[in-house]
């Protein structure tokens, strides 16, 4: 049965800004994972902190049998995680959730990541690129220091376009302004995004305007990660009030499915 497993830490690298890149040796996870899925990690030995932490898979190397995660220390749980060193074992459940669907038509795919939202898109970009699908990767952050792991794209021949709010790297302004410039009506096969909610809201609007199939990865406070508790609910469209689970129906949702006005 596919329960939680204990997997060793291969490496843990601080990237600045309390952001860490964590590599785990988990061949079964690397083999099963699809872009957009997440791992659910215990972040302590006892009852406190109690819950697992969901983290997007940002790389999966089937040959090496490793998966990588990108996360920021935000509380006690992630602080504990940041203290783990190579060789220590972590309790992980996953891969969980539904990932990004394949592009529904031919053409280049647009990927828009805000801040740490680039994590699942790095994995997606690699997979699309390997499948011969052209990738336009847009990464946004407050400043140049908030752009993480883009080197993995350039190493594969994908040149990311960058936007920073303070102008310290690339275009000065929100990444959605960059998207508005690049995204032509019906030109893209699909638009994939992950990042802050306000960014996703704007991406959904721009995607609809350009008549482009748009998929967003959402975040919500989560407990089980396996669809049991219905805690990680997000409002979806369809007449009366209705919710779906980020962990089970998501984390990736078609943008038109999300009830943005209720989110």
């Amino acid at each position: 049965m596919a329960g939680p497993i204990k997997v060793p830490v291969v490496s843990q690298q601080a990237l600045g800004g309390q952001v860490y890149h964590l590599v785990l040796a988990a061949p079964e996870v690397a083999a099963a994972a699809v872009p957009g899925q997440f791992l659910h990690l215990r972040v302590g030995e006892g009852h406190d902190p109690l819950l697992r932490r969901p983290l997007s898979i940002c790389e999966a190397d089937r040959e090496e049998g490793t998966v990588a995660l990108l996360y920021q220390v935000r509380g006690r749980g992630t602080a504990w995680l940041a203290g783990r060193r190579a060789g220590e074992r972590l309790d992980v459940l996953g891969p969980l959730g539904r990932g990004f669907p394949a592009p529904p038509r031919d053409g280049p795919c647009f990927l828009v990541g805000g801040g740490l939202g680039v994590a699942p898109l790095l994995f997606l970009a690699t997979a699309l690129h390997r499948g011969g699908i052209p990738v336009v990767f847009l990464a946004g952050a407050e400043s140049a220091a908030g752009l993480y792991r883009l080197s993995t794209l350039t190493a594969r021949g994908i040149a990311p376009a960058v936007a920073t709010v303070d102008g310290s790297a690339g275009y000065r302004g929100p990444v959605t302004e960059l998207l508005a410039r690049y995204l032509r009506p019906q030109a893209a096969a699909a638009l994939y995004a992950c990042g802050p909610r306000e960014m996703l809201r704007e991406v959904a609007r721009l995607g609809a305007r350009a008549e482009t199939p748009t998929f967003v990865s959402l975040e919500e406070v989560m407990a089980c990660g396996t669809g049991l508790c219905r805690g990680c609910a997000v409002p979806v469209r369809g007449g009366r009030t209705r919710y779906e689970r980020v962990c089970a129906e998501g984390p990736v949702f078609p943008a038109e499915r999300v009830a943005w006005d209720a989110l």
């Binding site: 049965m1 596919a2 329960g3 939680p4 215990r42 009852h47 406190d48 902190p49 109690l50 819950l51 697992r52 459940l93 919500e220 406070v221 989560m222 407990a223 089980c224 396996t226 669809g227 049991l228 508790c229 219905r230 805690g231 990680c232 609910a233 997000v234 409002p235 009366r240 009030t241 209705r242 919710y243 089970a248 209720a262």
Partner: protein
């Protein structure tokens, strides 16, 4: 030698005392990839209402020290959907299923209970008069003996299934509510549901949960739940109790059994480890083997020392 773990909650006999608690195991099917449901004593599905309920606006969860606040709001697809879409699959899993029943009025509870009579093979009903996260019904009924009795009596008239009643912990005199539920027709009592609680977000300076208040579960509430099981077991000797509240290990389960519970509910622990209930069961088996206990039922209430 294998120890005998069988237990009985009134007319409901279970192969072992480990039961998945309502609201933390979905409709059971979500757990199929993670554990062999057949090994469990029973599972209790999420509370069902007459019509689909959408549940509360997010955020619905907040982590607290060794605990979890939730305000799901009894989101469920309604009893008709359960009967048509879920039960035909769930009944084939080979595990006794307890259906949790909720509503806004005693009549709604009774109507759901009656509909559940269509679910051939269902093991029992659990009347949820203790959800702290809904404006109508829920814990309001469980807070007073008269209202508890009204709901239980209404349900009892419409079902022949074994009837459990799930009690709310924050009650002035829980034994009185428990007694009223039994006199109105309950075969057994489940206790306890979550404790009302809240958290405030310092960034927004607003209540953290979309519903403002929620129900606290997890290891943080175990001592409170244990004491309530002890109290009700003492006040109502002979009434079968399904004890729950923060149980995450066989040691926790044994404490509830020694306090007087004939079965134990595993709730929040399943949200952290989907196989938690089986670990508890295996721990109970080990404990019996190591301590030469042939029948686990001998330990029920043993901490009372005959008092």
């Amino acid at each position: 030698m294998r120890s005998d773990l069988t237990t009985a909650l009134g007319p409901l006999t279970l192969a072992n005392p480990v039961v998945l608690a309502s609201g933390t195991c979905g409709f059971g099917l979500e757990l199929v990839p993670y554990l062999d449901l057949k090994r469990l004593g029973a599972l209790t599905v999420k509370s069902l209402t007459l019509e689909p309920w959408p549940g509360n606006p997010p955020p619905r969860l907040a982590e607290t020290p060794a605990g979890l606040l939730n305000a799901i709001g009894l989101e469920n697809p309604g009893v008709s959907y359960f009967l048509e879409e879920i039960w035909p699959v769930l009944r084939r899993q080979g595990v006794p299923v307890i259906a949790s029943v909720a509503g806004r009025t005693p009549q709604e509870y009774a109507a759901v209970a009656e509909r559940l009579g269509e679910a051939e093979g269902l093991a029992a009903l659990e009347v949820n008069i203790s959800c702290p996260n809904v404006r109508e019904g829920g814990a309001l009924f469980g807070s007073r003996p008269e209202t508890a009795a009204a709901v239980v009596a209404a349900v009892r008239r419409r079902t022949r299934l074994p009837l459990l009643v799930k009690l709310a912990p924050m009650v002035t005199d829980l034994a009185a509510v428990a007694r009223a539920a039994v006199e109105a027709g309950a075969d057994a009592l489940s206790l306890v549901n979550t404790l009302p609680g809240m958290a405030i977000d310092l960034t927004r300076r607003r209540p953290y949960l979309g519903n403002v208040v929620g129900g606290l579960s997890g290891p943080a509430i175990k001592p409170v739940a244990l004491r309530l099981v002890w109290e009700v077991a003492g006040a109502l000797p002979g009434v079968p109790l399904l004890g729950m509240g923060g149980i995450s290990s066989a040691a926790d389960a044994l404490e509830f059994i020694l306090a007087g519970a004939r079965a134990v509910g595993i709730g929040t622990a399943t949200l952290i480890n989907p196989g938690a209930a089986l670990a508890v069961l295996e721990g109970l088996e080990d404990y019996c083997r190591q301590n030469g206990i042939t029948r686990l039922a001998e330990l029920v209430g043993a901490a009372r020392g005959g008092a």
